[in-house]
């Protein structure tokens, strides 16, 4: 590694050592039965605990930002550090060795997806206004894309934006909006011209979540918590300078967001779920349940660990390719599919080991707690593009297989057949 990177690494360590503690257990050693045994992917905390965690996340992000690590790849004029993706990954790798608050509420959607979109498509003063605020943890952003009638087929969305003087008036309904209850702004895709084909008449906006006419209603997930929401937009006024990209060119803007989304979901390595579905944790689980010598369990463990490790190798190689300045390949899609598959298999394997103690809480450490992960895994195969849609993309874009015939992308949006909604 170059000397410049060594300096960076030393700076990161200095910052972390001064502010947080190193994790007690690392690598392969693991003490079964101590510490929290929460194995959740989504929050299942009651609202007050949830709010406290969000506050912690924001304050940690502020400290990161003050130390120059809030937005490592961002341009300096908007509070970024102007360094490479590799620096960013190096930082993440080191930070994972420490006990730090989970900043997912900020990073996954706001900083990972909406931030880059604002940077690419917003006007200068809007970037000034929001980017430093987002990357310093002050402003939380959510993604207002999906609608009741527009899930996989996002381009069939129907929320209307109508020009009104020097601004716009937005009316419609969004759904499955993660963290909308915490968000200050949202990026919304709206229909501005229903007489054009569905991909053509869409415009993207930044919405102030506290504006009159914005109403957030929580939806409970099958895993128990209420991370996602319905968002009703009724005559919400948005100034024209909060438009992202050109009028009717919102699909292109959305693609920036979606590209960043796939990269975010597949690349996740940390978190309680990944810690649980790992060799040390699963081995300890087998040992605690007297199954470590059981041939069938060993075999399933080996199969799972082989795939987990190979997926890690895949991610490393993608990283090395980026370091060498080459284009990322289709690894992100493969990685996302594997990530969901590995966690799902891991959760089911653990479920088999703990058996009925998964479905009835006997108070035992590391048993009933697996149900949180088990109940979350179905979502990993749906969010950010379902498994089926990812396979369509791989098959059509990478392998060059023919598209599904008969899908209408030419007729005006108004004439399309849609679920429930009025076009």
């Amino acid at each position: 590694m170059s000397g410049e990177m060594d300096v960076f690494v030393a700076e990161v360590r200095r910052f972390l050592d001064a502010n947080v503690t190193r994790q007690a257990t690392s690598g392969t050693e693991l003490e079964w039965g101590t510490g929290p045994d929460q194995i959740a992917y989504f929050s299942t905390d009651p609202p007050d605990v949830d709010a406290a965690k969000v506050a912690e996340a924001r304050s940690w992000q502020r400290r990161r930002h003050e130390a120059g690590f809030g937005w490592i790849t961002g341009p300096p004029e908007y509070g970024g550090r102007g360094l490479s993706t590799v620096h960013d990954l190096v930082y993440d790798g080191i930070e994972a060795e420490y006990e730090v608050p989970d900043t997912g509420v900020l990073s996954v959607i706001g900083l990972g997806m909406i931030g880059p979109t604002i940077l690419a498509h917003a006007q200068g003063h809007i970037k000034d206004r929001y980017l430093p605020a987002m990357y310093s943890g002050e402003v939380i952003a959510c993604q207002l894309f999906s609608e009741p009638g527009a899930g996989s087929d996002l381009a069939s969305l129907a929320t209307r934006a109508v020009r009104d003087g020097d601004g716009w008036v937005i009316t419609g309904q969004k759904v499955w909006t993660s963290i909308a209850q915490h968000a200050h702004i949202g990026m919304a895709l709206c229909r501005t011209d229903p007489d054009q084909p569905k991909h053509k008449g869409i415009t993207a906006f930044l919405i102030d979540m506290s504006a009159p006419g914005v109403e957030v209603r929580p939806l409970r997930q099958m895993s128990g918590g209420a991370d996602f929401n319905e968002v009703f937009l009724t005559d919400v006024r948005v100034p024209d300078d909060h438009r992202l990209g050109e009028v009717d060119d919102g699909w292109r803007v959305a693609l920036t967001t979606l590209m960043n989304e796939r990269a975010t979901v597949g690349g996740e390595g940390a978190g309680p779920a990944a810690r649980a579905v790992s060799l040390p944790f699963l081995t300890a689980l087998l040992k605690a349940n007297g199954r470590l010598e059981d041939a069938a369990s060993r075999r399933r463990l080996a199969e799972l660990v082989a795939d987990l490790t190979a997926t890690e190798y895949l991610n490393h190689q993608a990283l090395r390719r980026m370091q060498a300045g080459r284009q990322p390949g289709p690894e992100a899609s493969v990685s996302k599919l594997m990530y969901a598959q590995n966690l799902t298999r891991g959760a089911h394997f653990a479920a088999e080991i703990v058996g009925p103690r998964l479905i009835a809480d006997t108070g035992e450490w590391g048993a009933y707690s697996w149900n949180e992960l088990l109940l979350s895994t179905p979502a990993l195969r749906i969010l950010g593009g379902t498994e089926e849609i990812m396979k369509n993309i791989l098959a059509e874009r990478v392998l060059g297989l023919p598209k599904e015939p008969g899908i209408d992308t030419r007729s005006p949006f108004r004439e399309l057949k849609r679920s429930g909604g009025t076009a």
Binding site: D153, P378, A379, R418
Partner: protein, 331 residues
């Protein structure tokens, strides 16, 4: 088997009445009296296989939580017990322990299918010197140890009982217990099949209504093939259950075949739920949708009296140890 088999038309009619009846139960009615009004005892005597399967399939479909399963097991246990002093309930071995009753010299641990009001005594199977004994205890003695089950299936009325064992003794009745478990497994298999059918109906309806890319998503092969696979799994489970009823007249009460039926139904529910959740998209993950209630109920039913993975494991172990297996289906 005593009575005459129900014909297809009668069966259909009965299914309809049961469906109505269980709908009223899930709206707050009581199952027992409603069944009495239907003359259920006679139907059951005429054709226990069809009647039990019908009742529990519909019970599963409606996601009703009741003590109907107690009647199935107690019917096998009653002959081995002293006459009842009022209404009886059964304490099931805690799912965490599989289908084997807890030791008599240890504390109580088990599950009741409902609260204890209206119950006079509880039959508590226990293991003493390697045999199952049936201890009867007064319901009032258990009240303190019980509480609503905290767990996965929040929609059920199950109660967990844990605490010191109240005094009481009872006759050894290992054969009766074996027969009761077999009967219970057949009923639970039917109930899981019912939950699956209902989930599959939901998923089929959702994917037929839901339009993406200008057409119902059920027209995409990725979706329809999942539904087809789920359907095959349920059909296979039903076939094994039918075969288990044929074996029910055997000496051990058809224990092997009943375990196979429950195993198959348990596998089917895992597969059906996985596919159903995936084809419903985010909708299926939200608690607004009925689907998650099916997922958790099916998993809870699977765990009672031995989950499918545990059953497969014990069947495998028994086979390797040289157990004599009566084929489930005679060819």
């Amino acid at each position: 088997m005593t009575g005459t088999a129900l014909d297809a038309a009668t069966t259909e009619l009965l299914a309809g009445s049961l469906r109505e009846l269980l709908a009223s139960v899930s709206a707050g009615g009581e199952l027992g009296p409603a069944l009495d009004a239907l003359g259920w005892a006679e139907v059951l005597a005429d054709d226990p296989a069809t009647a039990t399967t019908l009742l529990f399939t519909e019970h599963g479909r409606a996601l009703v939580s009741s003590r109907a399963l107690d009647d199935v097991l107690l019917a096998e246990l009653d002959p081995a017990l002293p006459p009842a002093a009022g209404s009886r309930a059964l304490l099931y071995p805690h799912p965490a322990e599989g289908a084997d009753p807890a030791p008599l010299d240890g504390p109580l641990w088990g599950v009741l299918l409902g609260p204890l009001h209206g119950v006079d005594e509880v039959v508590v199977p226990a293991t003493a010197e390697g045999r199952t004994v049936l201890v009867t205890v007064a319901a009032t003695d258990l009240a303190a140890a019980g509480g609503p089950a905290t767990g996965f299936d929040l929609g059920s009325t199950w109660h967990t009982v844990a605490g010191p064992r109240p005094p009481g003794s009872g006759p050894p009745a290992p054969e009766a217990w074996t027969r009761a478990v077999a009967a219970g497994r057949r009923a639970l298999a039917a109930e899981m099949i019912g939950v699956c059918e209902s989930a599959l109906t939901l998923a089929t309806a959702h994917t037929t209504d839901r339009v993406q890319y200008g057409r119902p998503i059920a027209s995409f092969q990725a979706v329809r093939h999942r539904l087809a696979e789920a359907y095959v799994a349920v059909t296979a489970a039903r076939a094994v259950l039918d075969a288990a009823w044929t074996a029910a007249g055997g000496a051990d009460g058809g224990g092997w075949a009943a375990a196979a039926a429950k195993l198959q139904a348990g596998r089917a529910q895992a597969q059906v739920m996985r596919h159903a959740v995936q084809v419903c998209g985010a909708m299926g993950l939200s608690q607004e949708s009925e689907l998650h209630r099916h997922v958790t109920r099916a998993a809870a039913l699977d765990a009672l009296l031995g989950g499918h993975m545990a059953l497969a494991e014990s069947a495998g172990a028994a086979l390797l140890a040289g157990a004599d297996v009566h084929p489930v289906v005679e060819l």
